[in-house]
């Protein structure tokens, strides 16, 4: 099932959700078999920021019945070391590279875009407008006015395809997506995690080191499907749909809902080869409904 996305030819519509697959670590753990069976048709990096970040204090994970809450907090080496140390390694992965970026101000984002613009290793950029784990993280991705303003300023600073990653915490994701589109975004991706909180067992104190975090996994699937339907019918640019995808039935539903690509996130943690299983399952539409895989 080859698919075209922002001018890039992809072998199938299954990619990873940013921050849910460290491909460099996986290559060390799984070796050649990982590269030979690369699970995604394009690889989306964990979000990078201008300055290095240690991320949030542990604990960073809370398990739910049908998902989890994370408060990872975008740990990363920062732009300079990403470019110096990781970019060439990512370039050897057998899939086009989409780099996810986040900034705490327009200037930060512009600095990142300009540093990455000339890099041929990078096929596209994903603008993370929606991380609930950093302060003010998801305003841009949930407010049409903020989103349009931000996108307009950024557009001039990169020729690469730009994907705006939207926040689910809005009653009108369609308006936010339309704002991104009108300001020049080449695609939108959704949903990011839903803000949520859990108390440590037997206490009234937050469990997560950062206090609160973002919910992902099957618990958010119905939210994702609803928002992807709403956004896909409102914009012309392609949509990357994600949220709670466990099997090819879920992926097919997001494709039917209008997504061009589908990203797998939390399910990677339960099955490192989830991407392979899901894209293979898409190729067999007949069985997939009865026995989703």
């Amino acid at each position: 099932m080859p698919v075209e996305f922002c001018g890039i030819e992809l072998e199938h519509p299954i990619v990873n959700a940013s921050g849910t697959y460290d491909a460099l670590a996986a290559r060390r753990v799984f070796g050649d078999a990982f590269e030979r069976n690369f699970p995604f048709s394009a690889y989306v990096s964990k979000t990078i920021t201008l300055d290095p970040r240690a991320g949030n204090p542990p604990p960073r994970l809370w398990e739910l019945g049908q998902g989890m809450i994370n408060s990872i907090g975008l740990p990363n080496k920062g732009l300079v070391r990403f470019v110096e140390e990781d970019l060439s390694e990512y370039a050897t992965l057998p899939a086009p590279l989409i780099v996810s970026v986040m900034g705490f101000s327009v200037d930060e984002l512009i600095a990142i875009l300009e540093a990455l613009d000339g890099r041929d290793e990078i096929a596209a950029l994903e603008l993370n407008f929606s991380c609930p784990n950093v302060k003010t993280g998801n305003i841009v991705g949930s407010d049409p006015v903020e989103c349009e303003a931000m996108m307009t300023q950024l557009r001039a600073h990169s020729d690469k395809p730009m994907i705006a990653k939207l926040a689910p915490s809005t009653s009108r994701p369609d308006l936010v997506a339309m704002a991104a589109e009108s300001a020049g975004a080449d695609a939108v991706s959704l949903i990011n995690t839903l803000p949520g909180m859990a108390f440590a067992p037997g206490t009234s104190r937050p469990w997560l080191g950062a206090g609160s975090g973002g919910i992902s996994g099957p618990a958010v699937r119905a939210v994702a499907l609803g928002q992807v339907v709403r956004v896909s019918t409102s914009v012309r640019i392609p949509v990357i749909g994600m949220g709670g995808v466990e099997n090819s039935r879920d992926a097919q539903q997001l494709l039917d809902a209008g997504a061009r690509l589908v990203a797998v996130g939390t399910e990677n943690f339960r099955d490192p080869a989830a991407g392979n299983r899901i894209s293979a399952g898409l190729a067999q539409p007949a069985e997939s409904a009865a026995n989703p895989d």
Partner: protein
């Protein structure tokens, strides 16, 4: 330095069949036949779940797979016989308690670094409670290296818990908290006495965070190297999620790929907030 290179985990997860199940006090030991994976190193671990009804426990959990050390790995003509030892402490291990002979498990791994053996120094092995699992594996590994004899200390809550060591015919000195067998008190009392006599040791320990912290402090004071097999909540086990970090002198470290065994000297404390137990 470890004498064996870290083995590569097969990509993805695989089904293994349970061939044996034994009970020792509150603990259960499952043996699973792994036809797809390599021989693991002591201290490495696997991510486990059941293919059916994983979920449906308290709050609908478990959802994520659970990290379990292997306690013994025996190569057979028919794959590796992997032993897992655990106690029901929550929805994940409660579900694993229900697994019987003939049932299937889904596993991924072996993951993590394993203990780094130091051939020069006397290996002193310290297990607390369910921390016994990787210590049994390490004792096996050392026994296979000709000539290496370890001294092993085991701390348990009671004689009932201590019966788990019997499953593996582990030669050891025992401490129980209630004094129902062996030394009454903490295992670290025994370790302390030993190290004060034998400073040429290296300590390899696994157990509750408080025990690991006592071991770390003791070793630091006596100038004895320590390798601590630690725990933290894990979602993936292969470095994908960044959820399992623990604070070290070098900042936050992913315990699943840079651990679970950390050198005591890397740590300011082994008391990790949010560690499983």
């Amino acid at each position: 330095m470890s004498v064996v290179a870290r083995p590569q985990a097969p990509f993805g997860r695989r089904i293994v069949h349970v061939t044996d199940r034994r009970v020792a006090g509150p603990y259960v030991a499952l043996t699973a036949r792994d036809r797809g994976g390599p021989a693991p190193l002591a201290g490495q671990f696997y991510m486990l779940m059941t293919p059916t009804t994983w979920g449906g426990g308290a709050d609908g959990r478990p959802y994520l797979p659970r990290a379990l050390s292997f306690a013994r790995a025996v190569s057979t003509a028919d794959g590796i016989a992997l032993d897992f030892l655990f106690e029901g402490v929550g929805p994940g291990t409660d579900r694993l308690m229900e697994v019987g002979v003939g049932d299937e498990l889904l596993i991924a791994g072996p993951f993590g670094n394993g203990f780094a053996l130091d051939g020069e120094r006397w290996p002193v092995l310290v297990a607390g409670g369910i921390g016994l699992a990787p210590i049994v594996a390490l004792e096996d590994e050392l026994r296979e290296l000709d000539g290496v004899r370890a001294t092993t200390f085991v701390g348990m809550r009671s004689i009932d818990h201590a019966s788990a060591a019997g499953l593996y015919e582990l030669e050891h000195e025992l401490a129980t908290e209630d004094g129902s067998a062996g030394h009454q008190g903490y295992v670290t009392d025994l370790v302390k006495a030993h190290l004060e006599e034998h400073a040429e040791s290296t300590v390899y320990a696994c157990g509750p965070a408080a025990m690991l912290e006592a071991v770390r402090v003791l070793c630091a004071e006596l100038g004895v190297p320590s390798q601590l097999a630690m725990e933290s909540g894990m979602a993936c086990g292969f470095g994908a999620c960044y959820g399992c970090v623990v604070p070290t002198k070098d900042g936050f470290t992913r315990l699943c790929v840079d651990g679970p065994v950390l050198d005591g000297s890397q740590l300011d404390t082994a008391l990790i907030s949010g560690a499983p137990h």
